[in-house]
Structure formats: structure tokens, C-alpha cells
Amino acid sequence: MRPSPVREITPAQAQELIDKGAALLDTREPHEWRAGHLSGATLLPPAELGARVEDVVSDKTRPVVIYCAAGARSLRAAFQLAGMGYQDVYSVAGGIGRWKAEERPWELPKDTPAIATNPRYARHLVMPEVGPEGQAKLNLAKVLFIGAGGLGSPALLYLAAAGIGTIGIVDFDVVDLSNLQRQVVHTEARIGMKKTESAAMTIKALNPEVKVVQHLEMLTDDNVDRLIADYDLVIDGTDTFETRYTLNDAAVRAAIPVVHASVFRFEGQLTVFVPFEGPCYRCLYPTPPPPELAPGCSVAGVLGVVPGVMGLLQATEAIKLILNLGDPLMGRLLIWDALDGTFSEVKLRRDPMCPACGVDAIARQAEAADAAFATAS
């Protein structure tokens, strides 16, 4: 009996086959491809594989290496190819995730000339720290906003203007007259409209190149993993302890950075949580205060410009993270006092005993990943 034409291989074995001339296929979706792919690969999403593969690899005796994100889709695809008569098909176990984890080379899709000459971004393009390459990174970036309110408004405007490719907004609220003192992404004519829709209209008017994804739901433990999964970073504009902890724990699980800010009357605070590189929210405050000691802020108010300034600082930190520029505000909490006109800073540390990102938590996560990997393979 002939051995099965399908085998699972390691990234090292894949590299060897590619070097010897095997065809290389990427069977993921275009948005995953845009976040980086192997050099020399051809993108064939699962839905297009059957119809297009013979155009890409016409010789069915030529070895084919196929990968996806983690190795499950590519294994299914490998069997599909074998069924079509391909004689030598290899699926990369662990996919591009394992490939990247082993620090093997990969690349971003070739910079389209349109970005390098787009007059909209001329002031970015002339700066060597941004340039066409940096602008391409911004155009590929996917940023999720939790809330299109006081903090989200200015950050949404400037990140849209900067050409962030995809902006997701989680909000289930509608525009109210009392929002307009600070939530400048909305307008009086849109009172009663869903905030996500109003924000999308403003963004589209400013920069139609931005893709806006509206998530009309409240962030909960049940949907948080799904909501944040597709994004590179999260701008936290939540206003309850519950959502802050829900977001923090999920962001740590998915290793997605969170740009955090809070405002109160004439003051604001800002920091960046980069999972496993710096502290997370639970490193600072493992548990929320009991309700009776949580200071009530419903009647405290806020000067409209305070979330404006803090939201723009969040946008600034987001752009720094995407472009890998400067020193992110990681492990540091910035405190702005509008009345004094002062910025001060305190040092934040990662807590090795942190219930979300401490040593025990990492061990638990590694076990879960191993189990998932074993099931997938």
C-alpha cells in the first residue's frame, strides 16, 4: 500500500523543503496574511483552495508545503490536495504561530506604491521615523476601542486621520446631549443614534480609507475573547471596574497590549499594559475595592478637555506601539493635573504573583496551549 501523501512537519523541515524547491501555500484569510506571511508563499484561503490551487501548482508530483495560523486548517487543506491527486503534501504543525515563535524569517506583504505616494500622509512620509514603511504599518494595524466616549472620541479622530487600517469600536450606547460636552466624535444631529454608527460616520468623513468595524455589544466575560482576538492593540475607554478586569484578563490571555487611561474631574491617568513585558492592571490592583469603598464618581463630573487630552495621549501611545518608536509608557503611570498644569509619573512593577500574568498564571496558560496543540495535531 502506498504511504499517505500527507505528512505533518516542523518549521525546520518545512524550511528544508522550501529551499529544495517545494511549492509554498498559505491557507489563511487575507486579514491574517496582511499581518505577515512566509517569504515566497501564495495566499489561497480555504474557500478558494480547490478552485485555484491547480493554477498555482500545476505539477502534482511537486512537493507542496502548506501552512495556516496554527496547523489545523492547513492539515485539512493537505488532505483536500491529496484528494485532488497531489502526491507529496506537507502541513506545517503549529503554523505560522510556531514559525514566528521559533524566530524564523517572515515578511509583511509588499508595500503598495499607493501608500508611499498618498498625499494624505505626506507629513508622515517625510519623517524617517515613519516613512512609507511606517505608514504601511499604520495602514495594516487593527485597533480596538472599548467605548466611543470621552476618551475614545479624540483618539478615534486622530487614529483615523493617521490611517490606521482597521478601527473596531465596542459600544452599545446611544448619543445623548450630555455627551457632547466632551465626546467630539458625535454631533447634536445624531442624538439617539448608536455611538458606533455616529463614530463610523465621522471617521468615514475624515478618512474613507479606514475600515470601521462596529461591535454593538457590551464587553463581558463571554464575548471579550472573541471581540479582541482580531486586533493588534486595545484602547481602553471603559468606566467600570468590571469591564477593566474583564478586558485586562482577556488581553493577557491573548497577549494584546492595552493602552489604559482614566479621568476624574480635573485629572487623568495613563499607562500602557504590554502583557508579559510590563505589568498588567491586576499587577497594580489584584482586586477591585468593595462597592462601599469605591468612590462614587457619578456626580463628580469631568472637565471636557481632560478626557480629550488623555484620549490623545492614548492615541499617541498606540501609534508609538504600532511603529515601535520611542519609549512606550509601560511600567510607568502618568498623572496629569490640569489645574496645576503638571505631569507626574510613578513606577509600576510587574507582580510575579499576579493572578493574571504572574508565574502561576503563565504555567497554567502553557499547559492549556500544549493541550490545544496536542488536540489540533
Binding site: 476601542f145 472599548i146 467605548g147 466611543a148 466616549g149 470621552g150 476618551l151 475614545g152 465596542v170 459600544d171 452599545f172 450606547d173 455627551n179 466632551r182 455611538k195 457590551m218 464587553l219 475607554g237 471603559t238 468606566d239 467600570t240 471596574f241 468590571e242 469591564t243 477593566r244 487611561a261 482614566s262 479621568v263 476624574f264 474631574r265 480635573f266 485629572e267 491617568q269 497594580l284 490592583y285 489584584p286 482586586t287 477591585p288 475595592p289 469603598l293 469605591a294 468612590p295 462614587g296 464618581c297 457619578s298 463628580a300 463630573g301 469631568v302 478626557p307 503611570l333 498623572i335 493635573d337 496645576d340 507626574s344 509619573e345 510613578v346 513606577k347 509600576l348 512593577r349
Partner: protein
């Protein structure tokens, strides 16, 4: 006397002051002085066993006292203490919305 910065959410406990002066050779002594003059600060800062609440962080010259000697951390006259309790930080009704701020 050491200057203690009071966070906005606790200012009502100290008659609206942004900063108060307190005396003591350690963080604990300074807190005792503070609580003696502003009794309502007591339950906000300290748990029933006299320790610092886990949802309140205290910074001495920008460093978290949890990584120094907690309430036993020595304090000099010109040092600056900052109290930072966890805050949800919304300007809308707390808990009413996510992202409505």
C-alpha cells in the same frame, strides 16, 4: 512634615485639599497622623487588621511602597507621598455603561 498627595476621589475626606502635610518617620506613622485628623481616611486606606488595602497603592518618590517596606518604609521630611486607589474613573454614572464616559 511630609507632603501627601490626595487623589481626587478621596479629597472629600480631607475637606477638598489636593495635598496635606502629615508627620511621621514611616509611611505607617504618616497615615496614623492623617487618620487622626481626617478619620474618614481610615477605612479608605487601611483594612481592619491595620494593613494597607490591596486596592490602594502608595508611592514614595515615585516608587511603590509594596516593593519597599510597605507601612514600615522610612520617610524623610522632603519626600513626596502619593496615594492612588483603584478607580474606575468614569464621568457617567458608575456602572451604567461600558464606554459611555
Amino acid at each position: 512634615m511630609t507632603k501627601v498627595r490626595i487623589p481626587p476621589v478621596l479629597r472629600t475626606q480631607v475637606n477638598g485639599q489636593k495635598e496635606v502635610e502629615a508627620s511621621g518617620a514611616t509611611v505607617g506613622e504618616i497615615f496614623n497622623d492623617l487618620v487622626a485628623r481626617y478619620p474618614q481616611m481610615g477605612e479608605q486606606l487601611l483594612s481592619s487588621d491595620g494593613g494597607l488595602h490591596r486596592f490602594v497603592n502608595v508611592y514614595l518618590n515615585g516608587q511603590d511602597v509594596r516593593y519597599l517596606q510597605l507601612l514600615d518604609t522610612p520617610v524623610a521630611e522632603r519626600d513626596a507621598l502619593i496615594i492612588l486607589p483603584a478607580m474606575a474613573g468614569g464621568a457617567t454614572a458608575a456602572g451604567a455603561t461600558a464606554g459611555g464616559r
